[in-house]
């Protein structure tokens, strides 16, 4: 048999190509997707956008990267274990012997503004006159530090921390938490739904009953009890929520496997001697992936909302984490500082809306009835 020239193999199957076209055709979803992607990438780069350390420092001919490396202060003639670059003494020392490049926002999520114009919470910079903004600096309006990057663009919270930085880091942790929870619980849910649907019978019966009982456990009370015993960290919270959120997808995946396991191509694969695991992975899982991918954006939204509400109630991430729920709670406590509540609300609302729009577009793209428009 003469070997044929390797025929080109399309990297997207025609079905998926049509779905991609459908997704692109949904303008709102398509734009939401790009806006969200830009925001997400920006949030992933929070450390170089909002930080209390310079990005690059040139000191006595040496190039340093404080964002990546913790340098002791003795390097610059001080005595602390970690350099505080916002300290005027250190700043002058470095600038006299070189230069440094700061991120656009010179606060991290936990950096208190020691030169806040008013007692915390202080209002956004655009609400203040130039003189008011620089009131706390020794040289007033002419102070070297009274520059754009040191302003609190959206004010500070009640501990003097920059709201923009906290919102940015909070967005990142919310999306990362939501993504991790949604993906891990989807994997668990799909695996369990697959086993139930494929084997059916007693396996299915027992696992369905277990899920019914499991779903009856009140998650919130359990969280309150657990958080009174151990301090809930990112991981602990993730595991607890995971323990209850994996059940979302089981139903649809199980139904999909129950339906597809009697298809003739599955029977044909069994006649070929293909093993159960391979059949599930290669022949049945692609069918179930449609349901999974359609649900994923909504599960992601649900996960983010859960984390935010837990933070808001005070059962979520411990103090110190930049969380949107905590920002909202501060907004509730400090009603006279509306920038806290409004910022928190806007970030959460925009994030959830974008995800819902993307989710709708994904759902429509996978809808087999939308083949012809």
């Amino acid at each position: 048999m003469a070997t044929l020239p390797a025929a080109k193999r399309p990297w997207l199957s025609p079905v998926n190509r049509r779905r991609w076209q459908n997704f692109k055709a949904n303008r709102r979803g398509w734009w939401s997707f790009w806006i969200f992607l830009v925001l997400f990438v920006a949030a992933l780069l929070s450390n170089v956008i909002a930080n209390d350390r310079p990005l690059v420092v040139s000191y006595k001919g040496e190039i340093l990267f404080p964002v990546l490396v913790d340098y002791p202060e003795e390097k610059f003639g001080g005595f602390l274990a970690i350099t505080n670059y916002r300290d005027p003494y250190n700043r002058d020392e470095i600038e006299n012997n070189g230069w440094m490049i700061w991120p656009p926002i010179r606060y991290s999520f936990d950096t208190p503004n020691t030169e806040a114009p008013t007692p915390a919470p202080s209002p956004p910079a655009f609400l203040l006159s130039p003189a008011q903004r620089c009131a706390a600096y020794a040289d007033g309006v002419n102070a070297k530090d009274c520059i754009f990057g040191n302003m609190n663009w959206l004010g500070t919270d009640d501990q003097g921390r920059d709201v923009v930085a906290r919102a940015l880091y909070g967005f990142r942790i919310s999306v990362l938490f939501g993504l991790t929870l949604a993906i891990v619980s989807s994997i668990v849910g799909v695996a369990i739904g697959a086993v139930q649907g494929y084997y059916g019978g007693l396996t299915d019966l027992l696992m369905q009953r277990f899920i019914e009982i499991w779903n009856a456990v009140p998650t919130l009370y359990l969280l309150i009890i657990v958080s009174s015993v151990i301090a809930p960290s990112f991981l602990v919270l993730l595991l607890i929520l995971l323990a209850f959120s994996w059940t979302h997808l089981v139903g649809v995946v199980r139904a999909e496997f129950l339906r597809a396991r009697n298809f003739e191509f599955v029977r044909a694969a069994r006649a070929l001697g293909v093993g159960n695991l391979t059949i599930m992975r290669r022949h049945l899982l692609p069918n179930a992936m449609v349901a999974t991918l359609t649900f994923l954006p909504f599960i992601l939204n649900g996960s983010i909302t859960t984390l935010t509400s837990l933070d808001y109630l005070g059962f979520g991430l411990p103090a110190g984490y930049p969380s949107l729920g905590e920002l909202l709670r501060q907004g509730k406590t400090n009603v006279f500082a509306p920038w806290l509540g409004i910022t928190g609300f806007m970030v959460v609302a925009v994030m959830l809306s974008l995800l819902i729009f993307i989710g709708e577009a994904v759902r429509d793209a996978f809808d087999p009835r939308k083949t012809f428009q």
């Binding site: 025929a7 193999r9 044909a268 006649a271 293909v274 093993g275």
Partner: protein, 546 residues
Amino acid sequence: MTDSTGGPLLSVRNLSVAFRNEGGETLAVSGVSFDLQKGRTLAVVGESGSGKSVTALSVVRLLPYPAARHPSGEILFKGHDLLKADEAELRTIRGADITMVFQEPMTSLNPLHSIERQIGEILKLHGASGDASVRRKVIELLTEVGIPDPESRLSAYPHQLSGGQRQRVMIAMALANAPDLLIADEPTTALDVTVQAQILTLLKALQARHGMAILFITHDLGIVERFADDVVVMTKGEVVESGPTAKVFAAPKHAYTRHLMAAAPKGEPPVAAPEAPVIVEADQLRVWFPIKAGFLRRTVGHIKAVDGVDFKLRAGQTLGVVGESGSGKTTLGLALLRLISSEGPIVVLGRRIDGLDSSAMRPLRRDVQAVFQDPYGSLSPRMTVADIVGEGLSVHEPGLSADARDARVVEALVEVGLDPETRHRYPHEFSGGQRQRIAIARAMVLKPKFVMLDEPTSALDMSVQAQVVDLLRDLQARHGLAYMFISHDLKVVKALANDLIVMKDGKVVEAGPAAEVFAAPKQPYTRALMAAAFRLESIGGVIADG
């Protein structure tokens, strides 16, 4: 409505149908014209994709508008152009003057309504009133279509009826308002041959009694020849030939008509070779499904799907298994492949395989392959042809390099007559016949000794059937394969099988060399089956189904 012109009852003039899709518009039907006189039968015949069903649905405007549209043409029913009629007018015509019977009676009936309600609804929609009189009329209709003991069947649901009875109910619904035109879209395709003959006889009798015209859509030339007064042959959306049936059949003018008529599976089965090695042997094979009842789910009885079947199948030979649906043919095939559990010894290549677990069974599976009925369902829609055909190789010859595997896939595709260049495409890009070739390539790539063919030609057009039969016979001769050929289509079986077993209710009614059974069937059941298959006649008494 009255006949204002005195012309034909239905006159279709230069009808075109276009469907909108992603790439623009596809013309499904173009420039079709025909006339149907009162009380006559016109058959529209063609292969799948020829536009015959679309034409029929256009008559009652049941296409998915606005995705479909009619760029040209008119449909004159009693002189009125239905294409210009508004929805209200169409509603008074549909179900009263023009009615339809579809292919699949199970999905055409609402599973949640009793048959009394479904037939009664049609009557009430078109003006009948009074529960008692509607009920009387329903019973009358059911009697007319030959449902035995209609009073007791009034409250039955579709799933409680057999396929033939369901189609009779559909016909009763179509008759309810004494239509002038009955459109029957492949009304017998989903039915067993014996039931098919009964339904055709019924339609003919009803037509004689009520004088309605029938527009009969079918792919089966045998039905056309026996049943229709006039025939229209369609291919690729165009009419290629039309005229009185007798004339068209006696002297087909168009090449496509001649091609259709020559399409019946032909050829001779392999000669019996009693000294060839036995490949598969079964002795008193039984598949019993337990019936469980009561709180403790105790087994109270069994459904005997296969009840004591024995046979010997030798290399290079074909065993035909025939019977109506529900006779246990497919179950027998699945039991031989050990895809369902069974009792009784099965010996494959001298080794007993009943009782082997799935991992012990795996190495044997390369010798025992299967081709299933539905070429659309048996290929995974999300895998390329190369992946589908190569899947068995990855299980049975895991050591094969990617290039070597590809070469084997190419070889198998060439062997079944497919262009190997197309192997990176997905199944939906292929026609039914090509898909069945892919399914055969999937079996052949492992170089099996025994292939179980479960109705491999039933879902295919007649001319494609003939090609697949030729291919199977050719492969058998080349590799000395043993086939078990399961089918309800006796014509195909006759062209392939040298031994035959006839099954009914899980039991073998008659067995023997195919030539003998076809020439002189001993059992009345076999005789009825053959009469229905070869002459479209129904022999009463033997086939219980209504």
